[in-house]
């Protein structure tokens, strides 16, 4: 006998960016012909760059919702360098770059200027990589949060200083090899520190909206941009963007890695409002962290003969802790 029909079931449902069986209003902006292409072709990002993709996904959605009324402030980093090497720029938006550590403050200035001009309908975006966000620009970021300036800050997290040649940042995961956490000593790669969970730190500021997103789930990402855009004040979006160069992964695997980061529990997708977690995106098909780590040469030492199994277990423990803390699995699943 026929069982109940899922109303949104249509071949690939919401799992693909678009879907010819869905109304154009439901699919992602990315899947539509008239997306803004805020970041256009000809940029010099590496093959399979997750950051280039994440930036286009996020800003295109902002462009759609703001009807192209947007100013973007960009911190120094890969995204800035590969998009605006003189004399060419890949941006199709009013865009400003100042320094590595000041994007949030510059954005505050842009926003205040718009206020002074009575043009508060323009959306102000500040964006940067994990280095500028969690490390060098963190003071400015916290200040922007504390003042509750009407700025949406987007961090494209590729987990190290890629532009300078893959050095460790405050967002580099434990055991990862970088140029400054080499594979030597009893525990090769990055150390197990306390981590620096900027989304949670952002929430501690009590700001209107905080969310984590991934380029592997464009609909979720766009929904979060939309949610952020529906609010005023300081808002923070953290997007996980794999980096083939820095991670030692195949360019074609960028989306796959982003997906496995979520499915393993290492990169939890959640959102919060005014300091409280309001939602999580559940893991769909849980995988052990190995499946994610094995595709990246920065973790190759974890799988060599004689590798310290504690290191791998430690990474798995982080994933397990996320799953438990955020409730990433449906009830009854383990």
């Amino acid at each position: 006998m026929s069982t109940e029909l899922k109303p949104d079931f249509c071949q690939t449902g919401n799992l693909t960016a678009g879907n010819r069986l869905q109304s154009i209003d439901v699919v992602s902006v990315q899947s539509t012909e008239d997306r803004a292409n805020a970041l256009t072709s000809g940029h010099r990002a590496c093959q399979g760059c997750g950051e280039a993709l994440g930036a286009r996904m996020a800003i295109d959605k902002v462009m759609e919702l703001s009807k192209n009324k947007v100013h973007v402030v960009n911190a120094t980093g890969c995204l800035e360098v590969f998009t605006t090497p003189f004399p060419e720029t890949s941006w199709n938006v009013p865009w400003l770059h100042s320094l590595f550590g000041n994007a949030p403050a510059v954005a505050t200035g842009v926003q205040a200027a718009l206020k002074a001009k009575g043009m508060e309908d323009v959306t102000v975006i500040a964006q940067g990589g994990d280095g500028s966000t969690v490390d060098i620009g963190f003071g400015c970021l916290s200040g922007m949060f504390e003042r509750n300036d009407d700025v949406l800050y987007i961090c494209y997290d590729n987990e190290a200083y890629m532009n300078t040649g893959v050095q460790r940042s405050g967002a580099t995961p434990p055991t990862a090899r970088t140029a400054t956490t080499p594979l030597s000593g009893p525990h090769p790669g990055n150390n197990f520190g306390q981590g620096k969970n900027v989304p949670k730190i952002a929430m501690a500021h009590g700001i209107a909206y905080v969310a984590t997103a991934t380029i592997a789930n464009v609909r979720d990402l766009e929904a979060k941009v939309a949610k952020a855009m529906s609010m005023k004040g300081a808002r923070y979006l953290h997007i996980h963007v794999p980096c083939p160069l820095g991670w030692g992964s195949l360019p074609k695997d960028t989306i796959k890695l982003a997906r496995l980061a979520v499915e393993s529990g290492l990169y939890p997708l959640f959102e919060g409002e005014h300091g409280e977690i309001t939602g999580v995106t559940k893991i769909r098909k849980k995988v052990p962290v190995d499946e994610y780590l094995k595709l990246q040469r920065r973790f190759v030492h974890l799988f060599k003969k004689g590798a310290d199994t504690e290191d791998l277990a430690g990474v798995q423990a982080i994933a397990d802790a996320h799953i438990k803390y955020y409730g990433l699995l449906d009830d009854g699943e383990k």
Binding site: C10, T16, G18, N19, R20, K252
Partner: protein
């Protein structure tokens, strides 16, 4: 450098389009169409994925027309085809296959309900004889007629359908469905002559001015078996029995206890028919083990549900005193049944032999050049027999003896005959490579079980010839179609367009798919990797 802007480090938006990053590439993505396994498996060569796609969009008539390009009998096939397509379906490796047959049946029934028709091509002035109104003959007649030929079908029985009528019981194929689909062919202009037997093909063709002929007389002769008997058990055969059920107003009665000898689908059909006609105890006797029975598993399961017994690993040796004496077999090391010498008895009023069927090729007796070998007719690459202009298909030629195979033969023969009539040779298009499961990125498909057709109450199944399997309603049929993964062929999920970090994929608008802009494509391969259905491929760049 000409500056339109005030200052050197202020740049014109979008100016990076000057920088053609395509020259970074060592491999290039390309779009391709792969052949989905459902299509590969379909004996009628239906473009299943195409009509499932149209069904997904609610375009039922277009979907039906797509079926009709290959198969004129979708309502029948949705009921009687053993759907090898579903065995091939890649979805089987996820949860379970798409219920293709149920959707085909839905579309076929929609056509009958709404009197949908297909158009045909201009009259060619040629006249083709089709011998036999079974699935092969009907298919050939339909396609030939559609191609503009005049077609006459000659059938020895009183009604069309061949084995669909005289072999398949009504609980699997209601006769009104069969009649309606045949009528649609008749309405296209095909002439049917029933109760007409051709004794001499060559003479008939000459006399009536046929330009070509297609032979599809089927296999209506039962294979016999000689056995010691004291005549205490009535012996008949499946062909006769099933024919009598259909052809005679008084239904044949075999007694309370009926045995069927054989393990194929026909044996099951006989057993279930006997039950419906009043037999209290029906036993299927098969020499091999039950799991090796050639009958389809679902048929066996339905039979068991209805109370049919199966005596596997038994060989009939004698009929004596109202009993069947069977010898017990055992499987040997080569997995072949071997007699043990032990015997058992099975009480029976009658036994029906379902041991296979033979072709009656007597109409060919005076035809020069036609070669019959091991009870089948030899045909060439173009399905033509050794006699010029005479083609053959269905059970008459070496192949699987199913309705769908015969329909496929009919279609192919029509193409070959048309080419023959024009003095040309028809060459089928080259087949695309297979869209095997490993070509898919199944992450993107939601898991969802097959919609099940409703089943008639068991009580009614045991006592009437009411159709066992019911319809999927529109919502369920469409839902089920949506489970199709479109293996190997772009269904415009927009993933490639979305995941390209270089905006190097151009979306051409819904229905028009995509194009790669090689000026900017760096060849990262993400589009190919994230294509759910395997309709993209990386190729080495020619350097």
């Amino acid at each position: 450098m000409a500056f339109t802007l005030p200052y050197a480090i202020t740049l014109e938006v979008g100016s990076s389009l000057e920088n053609k990053t395509g020259d970074w590439r060592t491999e290039r993505p390309v779009y391709l169409d792969r052949l989905p396994p459902c299509n590969i498996e379909c004996p009628a060569g239906e473009n299943i994925q195409a009509w499932l796609g149209l069904t997904q969009e609610g375009k039922y008539q277009e979907a039906w027309e797509e079926i009709l390009d290959n198969n004129p009998l979708p309502s029948v096939h949705g009921r009687v085809c053993y759907h090898p397509c579903e065995d091939g379906c890649n979805r089987k490796q996820m949860e379970n296959p798409v219920s293709i047959h149920a959707i085909e049946r839905f579309l076929g029934d929609q056509a009958l309900k709404n009197n949908w028709v297909v158009s045909k091509q201009a009259d060619t002035g040629k006249h083709v004889l089709v011998v036999g109104a079974g699935p092969g003959g009907l298919s050939a007649a339909y396609h030939l007629c559609k191609m503009g030929h005049k077609v006459t079908v000659v059938e020895s029985k009183a009604a069309p359908g061949g084995m669909m009528r005289y072999g398949i019981p009504e609980y699997r194929l209601p006769r009104d469905i069969l009649d309606a689909e045949v009528k649609r062919i008749e309405d296209m202009g095909v002439t049917f002559k029933y109760n007409t037997r051709i004794d001499n093909l060559a003479a008939t063709m000459k006399a009536d001015g046929y330009d070509a002929a297609f032979l599809a007389v089927g296999a209506h002769l039962a294979r016999k078996l000689e056995m010691p008997s004291d005549d205490s058990v009535n012996i008949t055969d499946a062909v006769t029995y099933l024919n009598d059920i259909e052809a005679n107003d008084s239904k044949p009665q075999l007694g309370k206890k009926v045995a069927v000898y054989g393990g194929g689908n026909t044996a099951i059909d006989v057993a279930r028919s006997a039950l419906r006609l009043g037999a209290e105890e029906v036993t299927v006797i098969y020499r091999g083990p039950q799991d090796k029975m050639p009958a389809h598993l679902f048929e066996i399961e339905e039979a068991l549900e209805e109370g049919i017994k199966i005596a596997a690993l038994r060989t009939i040796t004698e009929y004596k005193g109202g009993n069947i004496i069977v010898e017990v077999n055992e499987m040997d090391a080569d997995q072949r049944p071997q007699a043990t010498g032990k015997t058992e008895t099975i009480a029976a009023d009658a036994v029906v032999y379902a041991l296979g069927q033979l072709v009656d090729s007597s109409l060919l007796s005076d035809c020069d050049g036609i070669v019959e070998n091991d009870n089948v007719i030899e045909v060439g690459q173009q399905m033509m027999t050794g006699m010029d202009g005479v083609f053959a298909g269905g059970d008459m030629i070496p192949s699987a003896r199913t309705v769908t195979t015969a329909v496929g033969h009919g279609k192919k023969a029509a193409r070959y005959i048309t080419a023959y009539l024009k003095g040309e040779t028809y060459t089928p298009a080259e087949k695309h490579e297979t869209a095997s499961f490993d070509k898919l990125n199944t992450w993107y498909y939601e898991e969802e079980n097959m919609r099940q057709q409703p089943v008639l109450d068991l009580d009614k199944r045991k006592s009437t010839f009411g159709e066992v399997l019911g319809d999927l309603d529109e919502a369920n049929a469409k839902y089920e179609a949506i489970r199709c993964m479109s293996c190997g062929n772009c269904f415009e999920c927009d993933n490639c367009y979305t995941v390209c970090p270089d905006n190097a994929i151009i979306k051409l608008g819904r229905g028009n798919r995509f194009q790669i802009n090689y000026d900017y494509c760096k060849g990262c391969g993400m589009c190919v990797e994230e294509c759910p259905c395997g309709s993209m491929l990386m190729e080495p760049e020619e350097l």
